[in-house]
């Protein structure tokens, strides 16, 4: 993991959690179990989570509380998952979403 993880803090303790492996665009990555997907990706240096509907502009997270829809990703094949609140689990597959993402009904 890169230097973006806070190891020491004057006020807060971040208890060590279980490390899990997950896949981002097919690449194997590591994060902590139960943290939001976006936090694990951010710590791994991934800032672009989504591409916008009309102009395919890159989108990262903005609000981090599941409100703004800037971080919608495809998780285990399901589009429009809010990566800033969805919790990371072992073996998850996470992909960047373009616009509304693939249709689940195949249309």
């Amino acid at each position: 993991m890169t230097g973006l993880r806070i190891e020491e803090h004057p006020i807060l303790d971040f208890p060590k959690r279980k490390k899990v492996k997950f896949f981002f665009e097919g690449r194997e990555m590591e994060g902590y179990e139960g943290e939001p997907i976006a936090a694990a990706l951010h710590a791994a240096g991934v800032k672009v989570l989504h591409h916008s509907l009309k102009l395919a502009r890159p989108r990262g997270f903005f609000c981090a509380i599941g409100n703004c829809s800037s971080c919608l990703m495809i998780v285990d094949g399901v589009p429009n998952v809010r990566a800033c609140t969805e919790r990371l689990r072992e073996g998850m597959s996470v992909e960047r979403q373009v616009g509304r993402g693939p249709s689940l009904t195949g249309r």
Binding site: L4, I6, L12, V48, G60, C63, A64, I65, G66, T85
Partner: protein
């Protein structure tokens, strides 16, 4: 199961409201979309000033912990965490989505304490990854233990901008500058001096002109602004930053209130559209109460007091406490509230609340 009260939002207002109601005999369902209750308190590492000896010198995270523990120990409160409110129905039910699925719960009364969202600012590149709301930066660092980046431009010098700048430094992140479009710092002098002592420059009459980068933020240009907040060409400065943090204010989260058909009004001093409500925190839709930022942007101390007033009013409305005791207790809380709002930095919100009071009185007179 029917409840007496459903509280939507487990931040300082919702938790205080649920507790006050439950302590007076009300059976409460408390729902929050996060799994951890506490709202914004879970990320507030700074010490509160407190009031009337309550919470003075206590950190926000600790206040959140105390409220959470009290709520979880209260047998009359059922907590639905990780649960979202999807919609209010006029048969007094609320459609909710919890980890176990979609269901419906009903109650005699409701307290909507849904909080606020960050305000966006217009500048080129404002949609790039690396532009975050100040609350998001706080969540990422103080809740999840991840730095937002290495070098930050903070936009806005209100209390949030100042406190988050300080917290960024505590997390080992460089803050290049705080820009403030007004001629003076917006937040408390005590926070501003703390930030200045750390060597972070606060540039008043400055704003962001644009963010640079193709995939994410790679830099920012700031410039001076005139009295009408227009940028002055020729004053541009480039900053080497990978994060732009917007602390440019909040606006109430009123989706559920709009959907429930509560009368709303636009009050810029309170952050935008707010519900119209009386001194008991009840809206014009009887049985629907509001508290906290959803009722007007303020801060956690006043949110807790408004939550308590709402919780007490619910207890009185459904006949759990006698009228006289209710009025005595409510007046005491209202007094604490006006003491908290008496400082010069509360001029704006006082104006805002006076407008709502005038509106309510005008309607009563008709």
């Amino acid at each position: 199961m029917e409840y007496d009260l459903i509280v939507v939002g487990g931040g300082p207002a919702g938790l205080s409201g649920a507790l006050k109601a439950a302590q007076n005999g009300v059976r409460v369902a408390l729902i929050d979309r996060q799994e951890q209750l506490g709202g914004q308190l879970v990320k507030q590492t700074h010490k509160f000033f407190g009031w009337s000896q309550r919470y003075a010198g206590v950190r926000g995270i600790e206040i959140g912990r105390r409220l959470r523990d009290a709520v979880c120990a209260e047998p009359r409160i059922t907590v639905f965490a990780g649960t979202e409110a999807l919609g209010y129905y006029p048969d007094n039910s609320l459609l909710i989505e919890s980890p176990s699925g979609v269901s419906r719960i009903t109650a005699k009364t409701f307290l909507f304490a849904t909080g606020a969202q960050e305000r966006m600012l217009l500048f080129r590149g404002n949609d790039l990854p690396g532009v975050y709301g100040a609350g998001a930066v706080q969540t990422l660092m103080n809740v999840y233990g991840v730095r937002p980046g290495r070098s930050v431009l903070m936009v806005g010098s209100g209390n949030i901008g100042l406190i988050v700048s300080y917290q960024l430094r505590q997390a080992g992140v460089t803050v290049r500058a705080i820009v403030e479009a007004l001629p003076q710092v917006g937040g408390y002098a005590v926070h501003a001096s703390k930030v200045r002592r750390l060597g972070i420059p606060i540039l008043t009459r400055h704003s962001i002109k644009e963010a640079h980068g193709t995939e994410c933020v790679e830099g920012a240009t700031i410039w001076e602004v005139d009295d009408k907040f227009r940028g002055i060409p020729g004053t541009e400065k480039d900053l080497d930053v990978d994060v732009i943090c917007l602390a440019t204010g909040l606006t109430p989260l009123g989706d559920l209130l709009w959907q429930a058909g509560v009368s709303m009004t636009y009050v810029p001093e309170l952050g935008g559209f707010v519900p119209i409500y009386d001194e008991n925190m009840e809206t014009e839709r009887p049985g629907i109460f509001v508290a906290g930022d959803a009722a007007g942007i303020e801060e956690a101390s006043t949110a807790m007091l408004c939550g308590e007033i709402a919780g007490l009013s619910v207890a009185a409305k459904i006949g759990k406490i006698p009228r006289q005791r209710f009025e005595e207790e409510r007046n005491a809380l209202a007094q604490e509230l006006s003491a908290l709002r008496s400082g010069p930095l509360s001029n704006k919100v006082r104006t805002g609340y006076e407008r709502i009071r005038a509106l309510v009185q005008g309607r009563r007179g008709r």
